[in-house]
């Protein structure tokens, strides 16, 4: 009987272990901080004969994603990882992979985009790919990053979805932090005990049954194809929930697409994605001990955007602050923009936007205290004076 082991692993190691467990046929990747350890570790597994996989050492991220596209086109299970400028360089093929409905699993160790050049965490890299058509999931801790990686292959390769999945873990905060991670107790490594069957592609390039793929589509077809892509993406939320349920039933860890924390009687709440959720939970506990009814809603799945779950998760909160670790210049943070869209036409809470933690700026319990105080002040006034506030920036 295989047993689950609890290992001290940093996020990058945990992700590499999970990717190895899923037995990818092809890995094509280029190292970039803070993702480097993932691909170095996987290269070691292949070199040591622990993982039977074609590991393609490419000359750039653009080539990495191109190789992933090609491998997925012939029906392979494909994995890659990148961050920041690497994602920016590969973005052309990132879009094309999603529109072709080719499953690929990619880990992003979230890092700020240049400039100024910076290696630390924010979500500007993932948000660059927000509209690319990839499913996007953000991890709160290393265990979640490990479990999400395994779920991602199943979600991506499900024929009802057949879309690439981007798993995000916060650079350094998770990628380089050692946490206890419980591995899966797997007997049958071929299919992960039936959880992850061998890929059966929606369609593939096959000399015995030729198709034409990667075609030009002018106005009479382009919009129809994009409409189909949108439908597949929107409907993937049901498959994602199904996979989360199955994973939880087997191994006891459930990772809902939206997770409310202390929301039942919350007067004010913040919405978080990624590792700041853990800090937020600690802040909620402290403030609750002081008698303040505050809550938090963790958004795990950002694309597809789980509108109904987030509406339900907010319960009866009077004021909601949406935390964004990136900003759409000239507008608001991208998570807030979606949240505001989800509230249109509904009588609900006051909603405002907090921009936090850009380029690795620390997000502490005090950061959350500031946001909750701010929300209480707006709740007392009954309106939002400043819809977008930057928290923790000097001189504000």
């Amino acid at each position: 009987m295989a047993k689950a082991k609890v290992l001290g692993m940093m996020g990058d190691f945990a992700v590499a272990e999970a990717a190895k467990l899923c037995n990818p046929d092809v890995i094509a990747a280029y190292p970039i901080t803070p993702q480097t350890i993932i691909v170095e570790r996987l290269a070691e597994f292949v070199a040591d004969g622990e993982l039977d996989c074609d590991y393609i050492c490419v000359e750039s991220e653009h080539s990495a994603m191109s190789a992933c596209y090609g491998a997925s086109a012939v029906g392979a299970r494909v994995y890659t990882a990148t961050a920041s400028q690497g994602l920016a360089l590969m973005i052309e093929i990132v879009y094309i992979t999603a529109s072709a409905r080719f499953p690929v699993v990619m880990t992003i160790a979230n890092r700020a985009l240049s400039g100024p050049i910076n290696i630390h965490c924010d979500h500007s890299d993932a948000m660059l790919a927000r509209d690319s058509g990839w499913i996007q999931v953000f991890a709160e801790d290393c265990q979640e990053a490990y479990d999400s990686t395994i779920q991602a292959f199943r979600i991506a390769e499900d024929k009802r979805v057949s879309l690439p999945v981007m798993n995000c873990l916060d650079g350094f905060v998770l990628s380089h932090s050692i946490e206890p991670v419980t591995t899966l107790p797997i007997e049958d490594e071929e299919t992960l005990d039936g959880f992850l069957p061998v890929r059966d592609p929606l369609y593939k390039l096959d000399v015995d049954a030729p198709i034409a793929q990667g075609l030009l589509a002018l106005p009479e077809f382009y919009m129809e194809i994009k409409r189909g892509q949108q439908e597949a993406h929107l409907k993937s939320i049901d498959v994602i929930k199904e996979v989360i349920q199955d994973f939880g039933d087997r191994w006891g860890r459930y990772w809902p697409v939206v997770e409310p924390y202390q929301m039942d009687d919350a007067e004010v709440a913040v919405v978080t994605i990624g590792s700041s959720t853990g800090t937020g939970r600690a802040a909620v506990d402290e403030l609750r001990a002081e008698g303040k009814k505050v809550g938090l809603v963790k958004l795990r799945c950002f694309r597809p955007f789980p509108v109904k779950d987030i509406q339900a998760g907010l319960k009866n909160a009077g004021a909601v602050g949406v935390c964004d670790r990136s900003v759409s210049f000239g507008s608001t943070g991208p998570v807030y923009a979606d949240m505001a869209g989800a509230m249109v036409g509904r009588s609900g809470p006051i909603v405002k936007n907090f921009i936090i933690g850009l380029g690795g700026k620390d997000i502490t319990i005090d950061t959350f205290r500031t946001m909750y105080d701010n929300l209480y002040a707006d709740l007392a006034k009954g309106e939002v004076e400043e819809p977008v506030e930057w928290i923790g920036v000097r001189g504000e």
Partner: protein, 102 residues
């Protein structure tokens, strides 16, 4: 019916996923002549081609192979593929071809 005609009748729900064409060798059905803004016509005074030993300059230079030799010295335009670039009209030494707006 060409595959284009077949797909044109379909709404987004019925088209194959990922923008594929689900069978091979369909490019020959793609009639690029619809891109044309100008069409070549034979000069009414000088037939194409008057020269008893046709020079075939148009046939050689046409980038879409849209000049067809029906007889050794008798030429026609393949309007399914002629994109109306006008190379034939420009290069014909007898000025036997003119371009006319579609």
């Amino acid at each position: 019916m060409t595959i284009q005609d077949e797909y044109r009748k379909k709404g987004w729900k019925d088209l194959p996923p990922g923008g594929i064409v689900d069978r091979p060798a369909t490019a020959r059905d793609y009639k690029t002549g619809t891109w044309r803004a100008f069409r070549p016509i034979r000069n009414k005074d000088k037939k194409i081609c008057q020269n008893p030993e046709a020079c075939l300059v148009c046939w050689i230079l046409c980038p879409d192979a849209a000049i067809i030799r029906v007889e050794p010295n008798e030429l026609e335009f393949d309007m399914d593929y002629c994109k109306g670039c006008g190379v034939c009209a420009l290069e014909c030494p007898l000025k036997a071809i003119e371009m006319e707006q579609e």
